[in-house]
């Protein structure tokens, strides 16, 4: 489903969407930049929710979710910054500007990397889970800063392409392929995070009976950890 949506969105955005009257064909970068940025922010918000659940209810699955979300979150945030930079060169005349939105997105990338480094540095499972959850939760304060930065500060960055409360400013033949790409990115992110959660669970539960029974053909099961 994700592949179909992404292929349709890319082809539609590259070949069939009309060029922008101000930016020309460079606006087509929007069809990869906006979905990457939206999904990276949603993933961080998801991590913040998982962090809250992990801290309050001490659910192990919350830490599994954080661990699974990190790689994709880091790569999509970096991709959003890179594609934004590539779009900025022909549009603003420079590869980087210390704009409100670009800086707050860079801060989000640093938060992602910080959580990853923290998890790698702490060996003890429970302490690692709590530290990562705390940083993820505190960092969610940055998400509304990213969203409202174009309104709060006099920025170069253009306003949101989509809004839940208003009609899009673009014609349908421009925002429809964007919607398809956004849906494709979300489907891809959902699949990737769930795959990595499965991997994380298999790693953590490798010594348990239920995992051994899944991967054995013989009648003999390995001795398992106590209580499992």
């Amino acid at each position: 489903m994700a592949v179909l949506l992404l292929v349709v969105g890319c082809v539609w955005g590259l070949a069939f969407a009309p060029a922008d009257y101000q930016q020309g064909n460079s606006f087509r970068i929007m069809y990869v930049h906006v979905p990457a940025a939206m999904v990276s922010q949603s993933l961080y918000l998801g991590m913040g929710v998982a962090g809250f659940i992990g801290l309050v209810w001490r659910m192990k699955l919350a830490d599994v979710a954080i661990a699974a979300t990190l790689p994709l979150g880091i790569t999509l945030t970096a991709l959003a910054l890179f594609s934004g930079s590539v779009w900025g060169r022909p549009t603003w005349g420079s590869w980087w500007e210390w704009d409100g939105r670009t800086v707050s997105t860079l801060v989000m990338l640093f938060l992602y990397l910080g959580i990853y480094a923290l998890r790698e540095a702490i060996a003890e499972t429970n302490l690692r889970a709590r530290a990562a959850a705390l940083v993820a939760l505190v960092g969610t304060v940055n998400i509304p800063v990213i969203k409202y930065s174009v309104e709060w500060w006099n920025t170069l960055h253009q306003p949101a392409s989509f809004s839940l409360t208003e009609k899009p400013a673009m014609p349908a033949e421009m925002w429809l392929p964007l919607l398809v790409m956004v849906l494709g990115f979300y489907c891809f992110a959902g699949h990737n995070v769930l795959s990595r959660m499965r991997l994380e669970i298999l790693r953590r539960e490798a010594n348990t009976r239920w995992v051994n029974e899944l991967y054995t053909d013989s009648e003999v099961a390995l001795p398992t950890a106590k209580g499992t």
Binding site: C10, N25, A36, S195, Y215, S218
Partner: protein, 60 residues
């Protein structure tokens, strides 16, 4: 593309590469873990068979 083709293709090709790498990395890691789990089970089954056989021989 009004001279902006290089920028557009750079952004799209990087995106496709990043998505493919993410997909492949997750799949390969899962396969590696499943292979390791199956191998452990096979080794355990073989060891169990070997410890049982000497005991059965000594009974006869």
């Amino acid at each position: 593309m009004d001279g902006h083709g290089g920028f557009v293709w750079l952004a799209y090709s990087t995106t496709i590469l990043v998505l493919m790498i993410n997909y492949a990395a997750a799949r390969l890691a899962i396969r590696k873990q499943e292979r390791a789990l199956r191998w452990r089970q096979e080794v355990a089954a073989l060891q169990h068979k070997q410890t049982k056989q000497p005991m059965e021989q000594s009974d006869t």
